[in-house]
């Protein structure tokens, strides 16, 4: 099990490296925010531990806080990234128009 998981770990590292190694500067901030949201996957860990053996009172408190944190990470992370990117999305047709306009006036 350990060896299988280590293999997954190493391969995932390479995937991360190659998926991301060619990114324009412009997208660095949204990308950081997007990867930030993805490590919100820790919420899955919180759910499993609380759901399967959240036994004592203190453990329950600790794990509920962990789930709160994980949820903030996931929900906040994806929303903030989406807000950053909305601007890129909304502008494409207008941008082309603006470029044409600028050329015409020069």
């Amino acid at each position: 099990m350990l060896v299988t998981n280590l293999a997954i770990l190493v391969l995932a590292g390479f995937v991360g490296y190659f998926v991301i190694s060619k990114v324009p500067n412009t997208l660095h901030t949204p990308l950081m925010s997007g990867t930030n949201a993805i490590h919100g996957i820790v919420i899955v860990g919180g759910l499993l531990v609380l759901g399967l053996d959240g036994d004592s009172f203190l453990n329950k408190v600790i794990l509920v806080i962990a789930i709160v944190f994980g949820t903030i990470n996931v929900v906040g992370g994806f929303l903030v990234t989406d807000r950053m990117l909305e601007m890129f999305k909304a502008k494409d047709p207008k941008k082309a128009a603006a470029a044409v306009e600028a050329k015409g006036e020069n």
């Binding site: 995932a12 950081m32 993805i38 994980g70 996931v74 950053m84 890129f88």
Partner: protein, 469 residues
């Protein structure tokens, strides 16, 4: 109930995880291009939803009330925070979201320790990975909080250093690692585990406190990678492939991103983390050489005339533009200048603002065409044939001391060489120094004129003057 048992089949859940991380990879791939980025982010979010729902299907799940409670509280905090944050405050928001992720990991490790009776009958490797995730998660949580506090200006942005900082940090790391070894060797006392969390918390604080504000984007990116790695470690200790894959992808990508940013500032990650600027210690106060230097101030109408009759204008935006929300006003100014046949470009320093890409995001919002945005390597050769450089709320990234003053704390950092253009107009609120807390000789240069005031108001004034010319 055949269907229910199918859904709870561990292999079905594993397949869901495989779908989830395939979506993460596709989503991240999308995030690397402007046109596919929005969809990419949503694909990744879909992957996350699948992973969470699949996890909830796990056989034997209980404590439903508490699970719902945690998710509801987290959503109630996270959604408004993400919705209401201003574009200028994005970097610290990312720091905060990163921090809570790290905190969650440390807490999960603590709960694991408690419910396994101090890793007593746990395989050694599970204990090791869990302890690793506790230490790194805790460092990330506290470090991110300090980064947030610095960027939010709750605490000073300039480096705060304790005497013997390095020794203290090494001692704290030694305590955390030593206690971990003791636990792996059979120690089951909970206080030993708590001591690990405390030592790691102090370490997180002390690692980020001595780092100057200008380096903060690099630090946030580094902490982002840390959280990813600790999530991957938590994944191994929980035998959960979704955590391993997602965590490790973030760990790897975060490390690359950190390296890109550090390289852009001509600094190594190690020297940034080793504390503050270079190690020179005391930062020079403004005009520390005793020479009284005077900056020349100008008016909006003078600035308008100067630019109207220029052939080329280079706009250098910085954090001040973001704070003033001046990007739309800047776009207006650009249009006016272009009507007069002035060639306008934007020079974007890789760390202008407080995050790489910060300026691009704002200017994109204001419909500035991509081809006018020049990265540092493209912009620097253009300055020598630029008539007017208009600096809007940027400071440290234009500081010529980085090129010619070896005693400057930012010596060696690549800058936008605005001092090579014919004349420079600086829009600035006051003569105070930049985020790095150092003086900028550019402001006292003969060909520099200062236009004091709010960036947005100044830009609008110049535009009005232009239309009346």
């Amino acid at each position: 109930m055949l269907f229910a048992s199918f859904l709870q089949d561990p292999n079905f859940i594993r397949v869901c995880y495989i779908v989830a991380f395939a979506l993460f990879v596709i989503g991240l791939g999308g995030l690397t291009g402007p046109r596919t980025a929005v969809r990419g982010n949503r694909i990744a979010a879909l992957g996350m939803a699948i992973a969470i729902v699949a996890t909830l299907l796990t056989k034997g799940m209980g404590n439903w009330g508490l699970i719902v409670l945690g998710i509801v509280i987290g959503t109630a905090i996270g959604v408004p925070a993400a919705r209401s944050v201003k574009m200028t405050a994005m970097p610290q928001m990312v720091a905060l979201f990163n921090g809570v992720g790290g905190g969650a990991i440390a807490l999960i490790a603590w709960a694991e320790f408690r419910s396994s009776g101090g890793f007593d009958f746990t395989p050694t490797y599970i204990a090791i990975f869990s302890l690793f995730s506790a230490i790194v998660g805790s460092v990330s949580f506290w470090g991110s909080n300090i980064a947030f506090a610095k960027l939010q200006e709750l605490i000073s942005g300039s480096p705060v250093k304790l005497p013997g900082q390095q020794v203290i940090n090494i001692a704290l790391l030694a305590i955390a690692v030593g206690c971990s070894v003791a636990i792996v060797a059979g120690q089951t006392n909970e206080w030993v585990f708590i001591l690990i969390l405390v030592a790691a918390a102090l370490l997180g604080n002390f690692l980020v406190l001595p780092i100057g504000g200008a380096d903060m984007p690099v630090v946030i990116s580094l902490l982002n990678a840390f959280t990813g790695l600790s999530a991957a470690a938590a994944g191994i200790s929980l035998d959960n492939t979704a955590l391993i894959v997602a965590g490790m992808i973030v760990g790897a990508s975060g490390t690359i991103l950190t390296n890109l940013m550090a390289t852009a500032m001509n600094r190594s990650i190690l020297s940034i983390v080793a504390g503050g600027f270079g190690g020179g210690g005391v930062l020079p106060a403004a005009s520390s050489d005793g020479v009284v230097r005077t900056a020349r101030s100008t008016s909006a109408s003078d600035a308008a005339v100067q630019m109207a009759y220029a052939n080329s204008v280079m706009i250098v935006p910085g954090y001040g533009m973001a704070v003033a929300q001046a990007q739309h006003a800047v776009r207006e100014l650009t249009r006016e200048l272009e009507k007069r046949g002035v060639e306008v470009n934007f020079a974007i320093h890789p760390v202008a603002g407080r995050m790489p890409g910060h300026m691009n995001v704002l200017l994109a919002e204001a419909d500035v065409p991509y081809d006018q945005l020049k990265e540092m390597e493209q912009a620097n050769p253009l300055f020598s044939r630029t008539d007017v450089s208009l600096i809007i709320g940027a400071n440290d990234v234009t500081n010529p001391a980085a090129n010619d003053d070896p005693s400057s704390p930012i010596y060696g950092m690549p800058i936008l060489e605005v001092d090579r253009s014919n004349s420079v107009i600086v829009l600035k609120r006051s003569m105070s120094s930049g985020f790095a807390g150092i003086d900028n000789p550019l402001f006292y240069a003969d060909n520099t004129a200062m236009l004091f005031g709010d960036a947005k108001a100044s830009v609008q004034e110049i535009t009005t003057e232009l239309t009346e010319l």
